[in-house]
Amino acid sequence: MAKRPSKRKASPKRRARRRGFPWLRLFLVVFVLLALAGSAWAVWLDQTVQSQFEGKRWSVPATVYARPLELYEGRRLNLDQLTEELRALEYSETASSGGSGTWRREGGDFILSTRAFQLWDGAEPARRLRLSISNGRVSQLRDAETGESIAIARLDPARIGNIYPGHREDRLLVRLEDVPQPLIDALLAVEDRDFYGHWGISLTGIARAAWANVRAGRVVQGGSTLTQQLVKNFYLTSDRTFVRKINEAVMALLLERRYSKDDILESYLNEVYLAQDRDRSIHGVGLASQFLFGEPLQSLDLQQHALMVAMIRGPSLYDPRRNPERAQTRRNQVLRVMASEGVISEAVAASASEAPLGVRARAAGPARSYPGFLALVQQDLRRDYRQEDLRTEGLRIFTTMAPGIQAATENAISRQLEGRDDALEAAAVMVDPESGEVLALVGGRNPRYAGFNRAVDARRPIGSLIKPAVYLTALQSPDRYGLGSLLDDSPLVIDDGRGQRWEPMNFDRRFRGSVPLVDSLAFSLNIPTIRLGMDLGLPAVQTTVERLGGPVNRRLYPSSLLGTQELSPLQVAQMYQTIAAGGFRNPLRSVREVTEQDGTPLNRYPLSTDRAFDPLPVHLTTTALVSAMREGTGRGAYRFLPSDFLIAGKTGTTNDHRDSWFAGFGGDLLGVVWLGRDDNTATDLTGASGALPIWADAVSVINPAPLQLRPPEGVETLWIETATGRRAEEGCAGVRPLPYSRGHGPEPSRDCRPAGSDSGADGGVADWFRGLFQ
């Protein structure tokens, strides 16, 4: 350009050359350089503006939900569990009939006003349910409006956390067409009334705001346009320098040149910071609506729209929960501005000003965070999702967590460990044994602490929790072993062939001579277990461990039979799940479905099951584990539970009481609890005195279904002489009923022969419903 000056400019230049050529030349050079720098700067700003606007504008953290509570008549649900579920959902109690997300009692019934929610398999509408609970069950479920019976209903799932990027911003993206007009009217009236007229900055706006502020004697309006505010939030730091102001103005102009007004407005509505939820900042009108009112934008009233607009100027100053009066004053100011701008009438503004704030109540106190469970969720999703995607794509993760069971487990730990020294740590996993879904997980004694997740990452020797694998191995050979088979419980010395001698002992350091197999497991005797395991072969036992879902172990020693192998509580839960489900292994899962933020399904993690064992030996093993709870090492559980409540379980203690374990199950709940110290020093606890009471405490609160001992095909109940392990009859002395594989009963007794025993080993009592423990 400089080389081809136009004719009109040529003559002064020639004159200048004659007068002061070097000065003009210098001026021109400086001018050109400045112009170039200015252009470069503008291009850079333009690119900055575009780069943010073109791609993904926000990193939206994944939101993690608990499983939705399903309600139907007959469902086991006590008041404690319902209360915990409603607390996790942040439903508030109201005196009279309230909006979505509220509940109240009416006589003996609960009236729940549920929130509409988009679940993986469709939308669950907001409705009012009338729920009766009696004897720990839902006894009636009706539509509160029509009185009609409802077969099944789901509540919305409780939000249990987010997977954040570096900052802790959360938002629920909305499209402009889904934003109600009154909200936009209020926003434009208060923040930028020339929005659709200006080019990004508004001189008249600045003047008007200044005048309004002078008249009011304080700052009631800002001079920045929405575009400038958006630019400031999007691209710039919050320091108030002159350069930043210039940048803001230029970028606002550039943004306006490149993008439509609607595009800018939509971005503003999604970007604006509106509230603080503990450590999570609430951005955008979509999430703010949920956070403040518990309802989607579309169902808000005029005064609620006005309140949100009011909060833009000071999310903390006008926080309606902390400063309700200030918030109300500011809201009414917004309504007045709307009236003076003519978007609503004076009468409407006046009546809206009379309305209460309409903000939903929130539980006070520290955040309910579930770092242990969330860590498991992220681990389970690692296979299909990059960490980056979990943090930025706004995914919705629907997990298997049951808030009531989680709370009961956390509370049981804190209750039972009260007064214990702080170094005693704890971990627990609760699982639905039929589906393999993880219902609760506690990674440490302080369940809110997001540190070492012991339930998943701590590997500790499992002690006697290994024993059911030994007995299950034996019971798979019904021609060799039955529950009544006598095992040798006499002193034992094992020479490992390298000069090492090992002299294992029973826990009570006594020898019983011989002991029935069922009692050896129920009372957790070490010596008969080692003898049995060595007869079966260590690899055979290890195969059982692995088929149960336990980890591979190649270093097998006789001491492995006492549980030297190190497992996490979660791995233990997998092994016991296989037993609890009758030999069907279901891989443990913490996630059911993942959707995009708008509900579009992405992944479903379906139920899967593998038949790892024949049901019969698993049934026999479970029978022995029931015996462990009735008469054996687990009987302390009945201090917490009704005496007729059928459960199966096993205690575990390791050397020097370093680890206290318990694993047990009822009909629809399996729990594993571990106690110990991170530095692996001794505790003064056994499995029965440490972990068991925590499990039993939690179970007594949760009130799950009791275990059902359903004999599989091919089981018969025989009367066995305890002292000889031989088959006898009901009326004989010293006998008890035990389930056996049909046709594999032991030799008949010499003293009290069963009827028809001469005809062979078959026969016996076929009444497999005659109770074992009645």
């Binding site: 399903e70 139907y72 008549e73 007959g74 469902r75 993986w120 398999d121 069950r137 019976s149 077969a151 099944i152 639905d432 039929e434 589906s435 009758g582 069907f584 479905e593 479903r604 379906p606 139920l607 899967s608 099951t609 593998d610 038949r611 049901p615 009909g667 629809d668 279904a705 059902q708 359903r710 599989p712 076929a766 009444d767 497999w768 419903f769």
Partner: protein
């Protein structure tokens, strides 16, 4: 008997050779999903006439109160519709919900096995049919259908011996008297 075995083997071979190359949706149709009935309506299979080898339990062992079945029937009905329109994932999801209501309902396990089969997941179809049998409590017609499904699944997976064994078990339950 020998002819019957040979016949079954031939049929199996034909089925397998026909199906080895066709996509899942053209595989031989397994039994249709069963309708779940509330426990009160669950009568013994009318075809079971000869005395059972084991005595029938004197009292049925319902683990959930019978009212819970309204929830299961509602979910099953929805699952039927989803399955009929080829929405297998949705059908499976509904059946899984129903199983959380009644985890020992053998009909639900059977139907989930059928859905898995239609999705082409033969291993899960077999496992779930096995699990249905575990809870079948002597319901012979249901067990027969489970074994038939297992036989077809094994055939398609190339396990001829296993398929034949399953077929024989299905036949034994099918009341060849």
């Amino acid at each position: 008997m020998t002819w019957r075995v040979i016949g079954s083997a031939l049929a199996g071979l034909l089925l397998m050779s026909a199906c080895a190359v066709v996509p899942p949706e053209r595989r031989p149709p397994p039994p249709e999903p069963e309708r779940p009935l509330p426990p009160s309506e669950r009568e013994p299979d009318p075809r079971v006439e000869e005395p059972e080898p084991e005595p029938e339990p004197e009292e049925p062992p319902p683990e959930e109160p019978s009212r819970a079945s309204a929830a299961v029937v509602a979910l099953q009905t929805e699952a039927d519709q989803a399955s009929a329109t080829g929405e297998h994932d949705r059908a499976a999801s509904l059946l899984e919900r129903a199983l959380r209501v009644e985890p020992h309902n053998p009909v639900l396990w059977h139907n989930l096995a059928v859905v898995r089969y239609r999705e082409g997941d033969l291993a899960q179809a077999e496992s779930m049919a096995m699990r249905s049998n575990r809870y079948a409590d002597g319901r012979r017609s249901l067990m027969q259908r489970n074994w038939e499904l297992i036989a077809v699944a094994r055939e398609l997976a190339g396990d001829d011996g296993g398929a034949e064994e399953a077929r024989q078990r299905a036949d034994r339950l099918g009341g060849q008297r």
